[in-house]
């Protein structure tokens, strides 16, 4: 690999990794929200029974 090829690959890799990191953060957030929704739903059902 020539130095030019390495730098071009690195530049595109940086963009790809940046986007992937963002998607992973959003995915983690969605999982947390999913858990919280399930928790609220559980509380509502408990309240309904009580």
């Amino acid at each position: 690999m020539t130095p030019s090829e390495k730098y071009v690959a690195a530049a595109y890799l940086v963009v790809f990794v940046g986007m992937l990191a963002y998607v992973l953060i959003i995915a983690a957030k969605l999982q947390r929200l999913q858990r919280e929704v399930a928790d609220v739903l559980h509380q509502l059902r408990e309240r309904d029974r009580g």
Binding site: T2, P3, S4, E5, Y7, V8, A10, A11, Y12, V14, V15, G18, M19, Y22, I26, K29, L30, L33, E36, V37, V40, Q43, L44, R47
Partner: protein
């Protein structure tokens, strides 16, 4: 509305960015002067322009908040600026890599375009420090909106710096005579720019949906308590 638009936006961003990658490496001609390293341009410049668009959109939402007081505009302004900082980080990283291969240095303090972009980036990075140092409420929304509006002045300054600068280390592609590139290069650039802007729109809607859901859930918990 967001639920309908989000998958369409994500699909459009994937198609446009996939097409642009294919065009960059299999269609765009190799630059006679810079060789292969010039291909960084097709992502670096659209990412930088998208960062400007994010900050401008954030400032527009901030103005809207101060003018007509819709509550949603505060969150929309915040999310746009957050996206701007992400695209700004990518601009600085890809720019540094291109500078290293083209100029032999990672950064050139003598270049007004680089320094002004860094100032713009740091200005909007400080937005988060201001926002999170104040308790949520109208006071925080007002302060954030005023700060976001001040920063927008730096966008044309940063964009024009390259044209007003006396040092011409940074290449000038868009002049008053139009884009200084071949038709095929311009086509690839336009596809990449459309891809980046669509990606911004996708991430913006995605983050906004998450934040709204978070706020709704918080309200629901308060009602349950």
């Amino acid at each position: 509305m967001t639920a309908i638009r989000l998958p369409q936006l994500a699909a459009a961003a994937t198609v446009l960015l996939g097409t642009s990658i294919a065009l960059i490496f299999f269609y765009a001609p190799t630059d006679a002067d810079q060789g292969l390293s010039q291909r960084i341009f097709y992502f670096h410049v659209p990412i930088a322009l998208t960062a400007y668009a994010c900050f401008a959109w954030g400032a527009w939402k901030a103005l809207l908040y101060l003018w007509k007081r819709p509550e949603a505009a505060d969150l929309e302004s915040y999310v746009a600026i957050h996206q701007g900082v992400i695209f700004g980080s990518l601009t600085l990283l890809t720019g540094s890599l291109w500078a290293k291969i083209s100029w032999g240095v990672w950064w050139a303090w003598s270049d007004n375009q680089l320094v002004l972009f860094l100032v713009l980036f740091l200005f909007y990075s400080a937005y988060f420090m201001l926002r999170y140092s104040v308790d949520p409420g109208p006071a925080r929304a007002n302060m954030s909106a005023v700060y976001a509006l001040f920063g927008v002045v730096l966008i044309p300054v940063s964009f024009l710096a390259i044209r007003l600068s006396r040092s011409f280390i940074h290449p000038v592609v868009f002049t008053s005579n139009g884009p200084q590139m071949t038709g095929s290069q311009f086509l690839v650039f336009c596809v990449a720019l459309a891809g980046m802007l669509t990606l911004f729109a996708t991430f913006y809607q995605l983050e906004l949906a998450g934040k709204r859901l978070d706020a709704d859930l918080k309200e629901l918990r308060e009602l349950l308590a």
